[in-house]
Each structure stands twice: as C-alpha cells, then as structure tokens.
C-alpha cells in the first residue's frame, strides 16, 4: 500500500481512531446494572392492580376446520371472567395492508393471531380465556369445547408442491408464473433474479459442481417467552406493556387486527429478552386488547416455552439446488441457485432474500436465482437474523468448497478471485459501493487459525456470508436538562446494547462525558415513529437520527452562546463540549452546563430532534473459519476452534460488535448440528421444549475468536455498517465444510446430527 492511506484496518485497542473520544471504546452499558441485579423489567415482569391472567387454547391438529366452539363450561368455572374466539375480532378484507414499514397482509396477521374458520397448524390459537389466576385460566382453557373436522395436512415443501397436495388456502394462486394458474396452490409465488445468460455461461465452464441441499426449520430461541399486559381505560385508550422488537409495530399491528385507530393505543416497551427477528410481529397483544374490552379488567398474557415453539415464528426450512461453473483458472462464469422455502401457514417466507443474498458475495457474469414461497401446516415463519440468507449461503458456500476442491485451489483464493468488490454488479441488480468482503478474506488468510495444525479426525472449513443491512425510519430526541446533562430518547427497543451506542454517538457529537448522557427507549407517545429493531439497522439508522438530533442541539447551543456574547453565531464553534468564540474578545468558553443554566433567558429549553428515513446502509460481509473433530464411531461433531471475521464499517462499541459476531456464529453452529423442528405423522410438533430442541449449551463450544475489520461505510457519519445479521450467514457451511475436510463426506442436509453423519460414515 506504500504511503497511501490504509484502506481498511483490523480493529484492536491500539488501532482505534484517536480522533474520537467515545466511538470505538468499551464503556459499561447504561442499562447494565439493572440487568445484573435482576431489577430490569422484562415483558412478564409487569403487574397492575385488578389484572386477570389469560391463557390461550391452541389447536391440537395440524389442519382442521373449526366446526364449533362452546365456552359454557369454561365460563362456569369460578374465577373465569371472559372467553374470546376468532369471532370476536373484525373480519378483515384480504386487500388491507398494515401501515408502517412492511406490507403485511392484515387478514393473514389477524388469522395467525387467532384462527377463524380453520386451524392451520399444531399450536394455532383458537380461543383465549381470562381468569383471576393463571392456574384457573389454564383449567378453564381445557373446558372450552372445540369441535374440529380434521383435514389432511402438508408439512414440507416437497409434499406441498405436489399436484395432488391438500390446498391450505383456496384463494392462493401462484404469482410470478405464466400462464396464470387456474387452480389454487400452496406455491404462493415464484421469484427470479438474474444477470447475464446462465445457459451460455455454463457452456463456457470447464468445471461444474452442483448438489441438492436441505435445511430444517429452526427457531430464534430467545430465552424470554412472549408476554404482554394490556389495560384499557374508561375512555377506550389501550396501554400495552410488552416485550417486542418495535413498540410502533405492536401498536400498528394490534390496531389493524383489532380495528382500532393507532391513536387509541400506547405501547410501553419492556426490556426485551432476545428476539433475533422473532419478536417482529404480534401474537398476544390483540388477544389482550379484546379480553380487556370483554372483561373490563387489565389482562396479562405470558406464553409458555411450549407455546413459543408451537405457535411463534421459526424461520423456514426448505430445499435448494446450487450449480457453479468455472474456468480452470478459477473464474466462476455461471451460477444457478434454486430455493424453495416453507412459509408456514401463511404466505411470506424470506425466500426472495435468500435468492438475493446467496450469490451476492461473488461477481459472476451469468447468475440466476429462483425462489418459491410455499405454505405448509406449520407456524407462520418470522424473521430470523439475515432472514433467508443462511440457508442460501449453506448451498452456495458448500458448493464453493466443492468447486475449490475440484479446481485444486485454496478456498480463500477461490473466494478472493471471484469476490464482490466496489463496482461489482450484484445479480439482483445494483452495483456495490465500497464494501469489505475481500478484506475479510485477507484477514482470514493471515489469521493464525487458518494455518494452525489439526489433530486426528479434525477438519477445517471456511465460508462467507452477506447481508444487505437496511436503514429506514428512525426518530430521536435529544434534550439538554437544566443541569447540563442530556437525555437521548429513541423509539427502538435495546436488544443487544444499543442504548450504549446511542449514548456514545450523542456524547461524541455533543463533546460531553458519557455518564452525563442518559439514553432512554421511549414509548410510542414519547418520540416519533421508528421502524422496528431489526435488519441490523439501529446503530446505523437510529444512530444517524441521534447524530442529527445532537447536531441540532449543538447548533442551538452555539446560537445561545452567540446571544450571550452578543456575537454572530458564525464565530461560535463547538469544541470538546464547549462553545468557543473564535472572533477574539474576552469570552470564556461556555460549557453545556453554563448554556443550560441560562437557557430560559436565551430562548427556552434546548432540545433537538430528528426523524429520518435513513439511506446509505452499507452492506456487510463476513468470513468464518471452523475446526471440527468427528467421532467416527458415533458421528458426533465437536467444534474445537472457531474464528469469525467481519467488516463492521466502524465499531461504535467493539465489545457489542464482537458479541453480535459470537452470538450469530453460535446460533449458526446450532442450526448446522442439532437444531430442528421434529413433527410426528399427524403434524404435531414433537420437540417443543429446550430439552429436545437443542440449542447450543456452554459446554458444546470453544471460545469464539473475532476479528473486526473496519472498511468505513461512506453512508454514515462514523462509518457504521449493521453487524447483527451477517454472522449467522456463514456458519452453516463453515461447519459443513469442516466436516467435509475431516471425513471427506459432503453433508448436504441440515442438521448434521450424529445419526445422519454416522450413517454417511458407515455407507462410505
């Protein structure tokens, strides 16, 4: 690089950019003490005088017509105060879309909250009952008599796509195909993204690899089950305390499902005990509103873990096919990716994002991705960290490993040769701006892990991953208090330490000490609309709003100082938290405290705000290295070493960036090895608990090394890129590629559980 300025850097405490006071440091988070002492209030921790406890009755069948629901026996139980069913909710037109960020079909949302004519999965809510204690509500739920007519069910993509498959929705006709179909189908839509001419590309190819892949549905597995408390006042104003990834989302969806105006609902966000995308929709809140209306009492609803598994969104399982064609020099000339994802009981799998993200890391002249969104009798999927991308990357990155082997080249070299960089046109359309994919590969290549010796039965794999990252609507208020401290109010639940980064960015702009800046997650009445916490957007987009609001405050403070000094505002600069007059004269710099003290006399309180639709979110890339050891007699796979490398653009709080990388990697390891939904022949979930839905435990894992690469995002004042989604994308293939290296077996079906692997070893 000579004397040119370094294009990227690997972050450690000595490479931190010294021009920043707070950005890149590791302060203790402002909400931390409450969380280590048990004081923090999560969704289920609220209580209110007079509240009732509600319990949801759920379908025992995978697919059934609801013939009748009789509530008399339940209502007769002492302590029971009310029962609701789907009939208590307004019937919603299929055209209605929810306000807010994503075009949700309200009728589907409403029917997922509570079944109307048909129960569409084992666990689908059918009725809810409120009583004076949880035990009574539970007993009462068992006394609700539901008559079902059981219908044939369909549980996976292959069965659902058959011509004679039972049709789940009579009004779903496959979109995106010609000619337009005349019969309803479980295939909701076909997507296609393409660049160049794939057929011609494969003709040029000298080496072609291809395979079929499959993944099972996996749950986000947040430790806090969904919970909500709803109270409706005499003037019909509903207040909802709940744990979610977006208080405005809850308000909007609940209003839509219950037929209320948004202004009639106030949502107060609780601390959220994990979400990973799973808390981006509503399940309990509309039930709470309707029960509160019916009983005239506040209603508390808390899901059990079994309900979380049976009724809330996992992400899709599905099947895929990936074909790659290359020249002998390693240039990939054609790629074809086909993905079919389970959407659950209502349309809307993340298959289009899989189609876009799977091939995004590579500059391939002729590339095509085709996706199918397929409904099945399972719970409706919800977002899960980089929705749709991990399954696609599992196929593409496994195929890349096979291609490297077929070409006889190092898998990092193959990725470097074909990797996307600034100016590469993605197959889904746009050209990339400055991105840091190649930099993650270089960091991997030079990491000691890559060349460390391996023991017997061990193997090493590498895989990469991409996520778009998004901006969107965010609002922030920054208030200067009378004593010169500051409050930063945003509308985004803090799911992994975002209050710390909001305060740090505000303190950076204001030039204040961090402990004088207090970040707050506001309720829906305290700060303007914000899209939900998800898509790795908060540090980027809400951070941008905070920076703008803080800059607004700085501007006002300069004006106030100018007034006090009787000078033009242009000669007042803001330096290290002080107004400084650069026009000479005897003006001692004024601190925030000085200016706050006199705010009343210079024009009133000082408060900045920003409401923006942020653009310029920089795409994120990561590369993971995984070592496994395989027990050839039992098929057990142990991850013995793991390194996650990622371009974070700029790490505001490096510890929480590392935490995202480590957590995402481990969720991906679970996905690769042990996590899956298991259904019996009747379509009933057989492992709805943490005993048999096997998320990784502490003793399953090694330390997860991290390398933060910083290629600053030109679209953010500090260079931030989203970091939360990317780290779950590479691990599925990183693990599979390591197993391939250890056993010489290409495992194409997840999870690579011991019976599956042992069977493959024994059949070799």
């Amino acid at each position: 690089m000579g004397n040119e300025e370094q294009q990227f850097k690997i972050l450690n405490d000595s490479t931190r950019d010294a021009k920043y006071k707070w950005v890149g440091t590791r302060p203790v988070r402002p909400d931390g003490v409450d969380k280590v002492t048990g004081r923090a209030t999560f969704g289920a921790d609220f209580q209110i005088a007079g509240m009732l406890h509600a319990k949801v009755l759920r379908s025992p069948h995978a697919h059934a017509r609801i013939v009748s629901i009789k509530c008399e026996r339940a209502l007769a139980l002492p302590g029971v105060k009310g029962v609701i069913t789907g009939a208590d909710f307004p019937d919603i037109s299929p055209q209605m879309r929810a306000a807010g960020e994503s075009p949700v079909v309200v009728r589907d949302l409403a029917r997922n909250v509570i079944a109307r004519d048909k129960a569409l999965y084992h666990g689908h809510a059918v009725a809810a009952v409120a009583a004076t204690s949880p035990l009574i509500a539970e007993k009462a739920a068992k006394l609700i008599d539901v008559e079902y007519e059981v219908l044939p069910h369909v549980m996976n993509v292959a069965d659902a796509m058959k011509d004679d498959a039972p049709v789940i929705h009579e009004d779903v006709f496959t979109k995106g195909v010609e000619p337009k179909p005349e019969n309803p189908s479980n295939v909701v839509r076909r997507f296609e993204f393409a660049v160049g001419d794939c057929d011609a590309g494969f003709e040029q190819a000298e080496i072609i690899v291809e395979d079929n892949y499959s993944t099972e549905a996996v749950h986000q597995g947040y430790i806090e089950p969904h919970a909500a408390l709803v109270s409706i006042s005499e003037d019909d104003m509903a207040t909802i305390w709940c744990s979610s990834q977006g208080q405005y989302m809850v308000r909007n969806y609940t209003a839509s499902v219950c037929g209320l105006e948004i202004s009639k609902i106030r949502v107060i966000p609780a601390e959220i005990g994990g979400g990973f995308g799973g808390k981006t929709t509503v399940y309990l809140e509309p039930l709470g509103v309707m029960l509160a209306k019916k009983t005239g009492r506040p209603i508390k609803l808390v899901m059990s873990r079994e309900e979380v598994f049976r009724a809330t969104g996992p992400t899709s399982g599905g099947v895929g096919h990936c074909k790659l064609g290359a020249k002998k020099d390693g240039t990939i000339v054609a790629a074809e990716l086909t993905l079919k994802y389970e959407a659950g009981a209502f349309p809307g799998s993340p298959v289009q994002f899989g189609c876009m993200a799977g091939l995004a890391p590579y500059a391939i002249e002729n590339a095509k991705a085709v996706g199918y969104d397929v409904v099945v009798n399972r719970p409706k999927v919800a977002a899960y960290r980089a929705p749709g991308a991990p399954m696609a990357a599992f196929a593409v990155e496994s195929a890349m490993d096979d291609l490297a082997k077929a070409l006889g080249v190092d898998p990092i070299e193959l990725r470097k040769k074909n990797g996307s960089k600034e100016g590469t046109q993605a197959h889904y359309g746009p050209k990339f701006n400055r991105i840091g994919f190649l930099e993650t590969l270089e960091a991997a290549e030079s990491h000691p892990h890559w060349n460390a010796p391996l023991g017997p039965n061990q193997g090493r794999g590498i895989a990469s991953g991409f996520w778009f990252n998004i901006g969107g609507n965010s609002s922030a208020n920054v208030h200067i208090n009378e004593d010169g401290t500051a409050v930063v109010v945003t509308g985004n639940p803090d799911i992994g330490g975002s209050r710390a980064s909001m305060a740090m960015m505000a303190a950076e702009v204001l030039g204040m000490e961090l402990d004088r800046v207090k970040p707050i997650v506001g309720d829906t009445s305290q700060v303007a609309y914000s899209d939900l916490t998800g898509g790795s957007r908060v540090t980027f987009a809400t951070g941008k709003a905070v920076i703008e609001a803080a800059e607004d405050v700085v501007r006002q403070m300069r004006e106030r100082a100018a007034k006090l000094w009787e000078v033009d505002v242009d000669v007042v600069e803001w330096q290290s938290g002080h107004a400084v007059c650069i026009a000479g004269g005897d003006h001692q710099p004024l601190s925030v405290k000085d200016i706050a003290n006199s705010a009343g006399r210079t024009g009133g309180p000082i408060s900045g705000k920003a409401s923006i639709n942020a653009s310029g979110a920089g795409p994120g890339f990561g590369t993971h290295i995984c070592d496994v050891e395989v027990d050839p007699e039992t098929g057990r796979v142990t991850v013995v070493r793991y390194t996650a490398i990622q371009d974070a653009g700029r790490a505001i709080h490096p510890s929480y960036v590392e935490g995202q990388m480590q957590g995402g990697a481990v969720q991906g390891i679970g996905w690769a090895l042990n996590e899956e939904y298991i259904y019996d022949d009747d379509g009933r979930m057989d492992n709805a608990g943490f005993l048999d839905y096997r998320v990784p435990v502490a003793s399953d894992l090694p330390m997860i090394d991290t390398v933060i690469v910083e290629v600053p995002n030109p679209g953010h004042p500090f260079g931030v890129r989203g970091v939360g989604e990317v780290p779950i994308v590479p691990p599925l293939a990183a693990v599979a590629n390591a197993i391939a290296a250890a056993t010489d077996l290409r495992m194409t079906d997840l999870p690579i559980s011991p019976p599956k692997l042992l069977d493959a070893i024994d059949s070799k």
Partner: protein
C-alpha cells in the same frame, strides 16, 4: 384445603407467603413476593434463567414447589449485590459485556457465584460444564466465560 402458609428466609430476611401446593418457588417469588429478577424461560429446568440457591444448593426455582421451602434459606439475584456494591461477578459481567438482552443474566450470576464459592479456580472446561444448564442465546457464551474467569481471578486476590 386452604393455601399453605410458609415461612422461609429469602436473602437474609424472614419471609412469609401463602401458596397453593402446585405453585413453584419461581411462581411464588415472582407472583406473590414480586421478586421478578428470577426469570421463567422454560418452566422445565432446561434454561436456568430461574436459578436460585436453596439451602446452599444451586437449583432451578421452577422445579421446586413453594411448599417445600418451609424453613429454607433462599438466595435470589436480588440478594447478590450488597446495596450499591455489585458482587465481582456482576461487575465483570458488565465490564466484559457478557450480556446482551440480559434475561438470562440473573441465572448466570447465581450459577457462577455458586461455582466460585465451591471452586475458586475453575478451568474453562469446568466453567462451561457447570454453566451448561444456563442457556444464553445472545452471546455465544464467550464473554460470559471470560467474565467468570476474571471474577474468579479477582476473588482469589491474584
């Protein structure tokens, strides 16, 4: 039969409560005594978010009946800090950023404290196996292990 009247000691304070036979200690702590620091993540002993000490044994409070605790000594997350003085484990959880959402944190703090009181110098494997009953879905456990190691070091005075 009326509710059972139970007298216990919780975080050093004699505490009385009324409960039904089926109510778990976790139900009692959260719903009757408003000690909501212990969390319900599974109600089946698989996640450890409700970890408490009963008579100096680490247990899941979801797998203990309230009626069983007559005369017992119970320690919950609310009793770990001494006023404003955090326990070293709590402090190191903050310094190492060993929590993201924080809902599993009270259980981890209680379990880690039980470990270090019994074994002041556990190796990484011992820490990982001791904490295997505490699920964390955010952190990948890495920073939690480091926080426990650092706390152990401080508590040993080395």
């Amino acid at each position: 039969m009326a509710k059972h009247h139970i007298t216990t000691t919780i975080n050093g304070d004699e505490t009385e409560f009324l409960c039904e036979a089926e109510q778990t200690l976790l139900d009692v702590l959260r719903d009757e005594l408003h000690l909501t620091g212990s969390k319900e993540g599974c109600a089946s002993g698989d996640c450890g978010a409700c970890s408490v000490m009963v008579n100096e044994r680490l247990v899941c409070s979801c797998l203990v009946l309230g009626v069983e605790t007559a005369g017992a000594q119970i320690e919950t997350i609310e009793g770990v800090a001494d006023g404003d003085d955090l326990h070293p484990i709590q402090r190191h959880f903050l310094e190492e950023a060993a929590l993201q959402c924080g809902v599993c944190t009270p259980g981890f703090v209680i379990a880690a404290k039980a470990l270090l009181e019994r074994n002041p110098d556990p190796d990484e494997t011992e820490i990982r196996y001791w904490l295997a009953g505490n699920l964390c879905r955010c952190t990948g456990y890495d920073k939690i292990i480091k926080a426990v190691q650092n706390a152990a070091q401080e508590m040993r005075g080395s």
